[in-house]
């Protein structure tokens, strides 16, 4: 009992998140533009004299929206078309930007007590972008121009674009566009694929800085398929009631940022390697919205032209900090999973029904895509965008290998030995503690070892909900198309997994009684 309560105390201490001391928590989605806009909003709120935290680069729309609804964040920049189609799921197609804005504003107030503030000016809608050399060669300027050449073209579309009604699923019938080959791929990779010549056409955002970097021509949506996607801050009205001065502060950005301007800001970060905060502050200053006090930027210096080794060595402190977070996440999840799975694994050896239900349920959890599980958990009140959600998700994944190995280890104990133990007069508890568990220890530890290595891998996804760890540089690197940044997270994670595997292998051998060790 003492051991168990100590473990719970440890878990509690590690899970306790610091009290939200800030007046305002700003969120942003996990792509450059959203993070720059998030920084701008953060800086404006700060300039107005409120304390503010920016939870930058949270997962997709649903992550941000759920976090906003549950009050985990107070505001974040979103796009009218996203509110229309993804959140409100309006069946009707809309092309009028003003109607779209007024509609999402009214419905958000009514349904969620959330407010859309004044649009920022830029419209980041979907666009199709074709390699410029091909556009020139074929004489293509609009999507309609593409139709006769479609069968010879190959496309690399982002997963979100492939699956949205206002993406490829609707675009294809709207234009009668029968492309020769359509692959679904991560967006950053799609650009690499275009650069490498393995695809010709990608989906793009109309403000994407990469359009400047890769030689791409945006095709005009001449038959008005893509809905309007104007950016505006979405904010909790409860916050506005608490801080009435905040509304006008947010509106100071109204219609200040053109598409071209946004594209340049994105380009500054993605191609020139400037920090989000630095770029945001520079823009605000040029618009006279920010005093001249210098802005600290933690992203600064993270990029440049150093070689990989110099780059990795240069950020060792940061890596160590992330490694610490990563180890903490993993350790918590594996300890919790062990505390749950070992007793459960023992218990279910007594009942066929419990065995089927438990192993079945743990197996089903394993098949839930990890991002979906995270998205589901952050919508649960009390979990939200926290280390708690990340640890819980990781724990759920870690349960199955430990549960299965405990069950197998206990069940596979030679029945003759159990018979001998009972016949000698051991109580059921003594049979379990003196015979079954010691004999199953090796198998159980092997399960813990597998769970640990798996968890180290999964824990990189914690960065999607802002729970930190080595996933942070990976996620940022994916969106910035920065291989060195990806490696700065992936390499330490791989080394950590290898070390953990070796270490637990040694532990496994050390605790296996000599009588059970295989010779040699």
């Amino acid at each position: 009992m003492a051991g168990r309560s100590a473990a719970l105390a440890l878990a509690g201490a590690l899970l306790a998140s610091p009290a939200a001391a800030q007046d305002v928590v700003v969120g942003s989605k996990n792509f450059t533009e959203s993070r720059i806009l998030g920084e701008m909003l953060t800086l404006l709120v700060e300039e107005a004299g409120l304390t503010v935290e920016h939870r930058s680069g949270l997962g997709g729309t649903m992550v941000c929206f759920d976090a906003l609804r549950t009050g985990e964040i107070d505001l974040y920049p979103d796009y009218t078309g996203t509110g229309w189609a993804t959140v409100l799921k309006e069946p009707e197609k809309i092309t009028d930007p003003l109607r779209a804005f007024l509609h999402v504003q009214a419905r958000y107030r009514e349904l969620y007590d959330l407010d859309w503030r004044m649009p920022l000016g830029l419209e980041n809608t979907y666009a199709l972008a074709l390699r410029s050399d091909l556009a020139e060669e074929l004489g293509v300027a609009t999507i309609s121009d593409l139709v006769p050449h479609a069968a010879d073209l190959s496309a690399g579309f982002s997963i979100e674009f492939m699956n949205r009604a206002d993406g490829w699923a609707g675009l294809r019938p709207h234009y009668g566009l029968a492309l020769g080959d359509v692959k679904s791929m991560e967006h950053g990779l799609a650009y690499e694929a275009v650069a490498g010549g393995s695809v010709d056409l990608v989906d793009a955002y109309s403000t994407d800085g990469k359009l400047l970097r890769y030689d791409l021509t945006v095709l005009e949506d001449d038959r008005a398929f893509f809905p309007p996607y104007h950016a505006a801050p979405v904010v909790r009205r409860a916050l506005l009631r608490e801080h009435p001065e905040l509304g006008p502060v947010l509106d100071r950005l109204a219609f200040r940022i053109s598409n071209r301007r946004m594209m340049e800001l994105n380009h500054r970060v993605e191609v020139e390697g400037a920090g989000f905060r630095e770029v945001a502050a520079g823009f605000l200053r040029s618009e006279g919205l920010l005093g001249s006090s210098p802005v600290a930027d933690e992203d600064r210096g993270a990029r440049g032209e150093d070689g990989l080794v110099a780059f990795l060595l240069g950020r060792w402190r940061e890596t160590l900090r992330l490694l610490g977070q990563h180890v903490r996440l993993t350790l918590l999840a594996v300890v919790l999973a062990t505390v749950v799975a070992v007793p459960l694994g023992v218990a279910i050896t007594r009942s066929r029904l419990a065995e089927r239900v438990s192993l079945g349920a743990a197996g089903v959890v394993q098949t839930v895509p990890s991002l979906a599980l995270l998205a589901f958990l952050i919508a649960v009140p009390g979990l939200g965008l926290s280390t708690r959600s990340a640890v819980l998700a990781l724990t759920l994944y870690a349960v199955l290998p430990i549960l299965r190995n405990t069950f197998t280890g206990i069940r596979d104990v030679d029945p003759e030995l159990i018979d001998a133990a009972r016949g000698l007069g051991l109580t059921p508890v003594q049979v379990l503690l003196r015979v079954q568990l010691p004999l199953a220890t090796g198998t159980i530890l092997a399960g813990v070892r597998i769970a640990t290595v798996l968890t180290i891998g999964f824990a990189t996804l914690a960065a999607f909900i802002g729970a930190g760890g080595l996933g942070e540089p990976i996620v940022t690197g994916l969106y910035l198309n920065d291989t060195r940044l990806i490696l700065a997270g992936a390499l330490p994670a791989a080394v950590l997994a290898l070390l953990a595997d070796r270490l637990l292998g040694v532990v496994e051998r050390a605790v296996t009684p000599r009588g059970l060790r295989r010779p040699g």
């Binding site: 018979d419 001998a420 007069g425 004999l439 000599r514 009588g515 059970l516």
Partner: protein, 248 residues
């Protein structure tokens, strides 16, 4: 010491009549006596043995140990008073020889010194020098050595009654021969009541003061070698003796 009174064990079977492993068994084992249950496989001899320490419960009838119905006894107390030896020893592979033999002493709350003393005494009794064998693990022993440790473990709490389920069944003929001799020598020294299961008629008559022959769950005959020879209870017994007993 042991009374089987109309003991019957039925094992339920799916889609068939229950299997009668033991039918209406009446048998009395006197204090200090060694009785050997013998018969072909599936005759119910092991099930009968397991009735005594309540690893199996009778469907009908009852089993008395020291005049008390085992069904009413606390199973843990009952079993600690009965030594139990199974084929190939049933030693716990994660424990040393000394820990296997001393396990019950420790569970009874004996201190380390008293347990160690008892373990040494028992290992001496089964001819395994404690200094050489105490720290070994079962995997480091021969089959015969394992069986001796199994016997030592069963005697740890000095039970008056010993149950042995084919104790020499898994051994090579030479080892078996020497262990059988040791058993006879030992059973005279320790003066226990012993119920032993064997599938071998030679072994049964060698080890048992009396032999109980079981066939298809029923007691076919019980008696000494002479009684079997001179007055087989049935034609079935006579045929069985002729085909399985080679005499000495």
């Amino acid at each position: 010491m042991i009374h089987f009174e109309g003991a019957t064990v039925l094992f339920p079977r799916e889609g068939a009549e229950p299997l009668a492993a033991v039918r209406d068994l009446d048998l009395h084992v006197a204090p200090g006596e060694t009785v050997c249950l013998v018969g072909p496989s599936g005759c119910g001899k092991t099930t009968s043995l397991r009735l005594v320490n309540r690893l199996v419960r009778p469907t009908a009838g009852r089993v008395l140990v020291d005049g008390r119905d085992v069904a009413e006894a606390d199973p843990v107390r009952l079993r600690r008073g009965i030594g139990y030896v199974i084929q190939s020893g049933g030693l716990f592979p994660h424990l040393t020889v000394a820990a296997n033999v001393g396990l019950l002493c420790r569970l009874e709350g004996w201190d380390t010194a008293r347990t160690a003393e008892r373990v040494d005494e028992l290992l001496e009794l089964v001819h395994l020098p404690p200094s050489e064998f105490g720290a070994r693990y079962p995997a480091e022993l021969s089959g015969g050595q394992r069986q001796r440790v199994g016997v030592a473990r069963a005697l740890a709490l000095d039970p008056q009654l010993l149950l042995m389920d084919e104790p020499f069944g898994a051994l090579d003929p030479l080892t078996r021969d020497s262990l059988q001799r040791e058993f006879l020598e030992l059973s005279e020294r320790v003066e226990k009541t012993i119920l032993i299961v064997s599938h071998d008629m030679d072994e049964a008559f060698l080890l048992g003061d009396r032999v109980a022959l079981l066939a298809e769950g029923r007691l076919a005959q019980v008696g000494t070698l002479e009684q079997f020879r001179d007055a087989p209870a049935s034609e079935q017994v006579r045929t069985f003796l002729e085909s399985h007993f080679h005499g000495r």
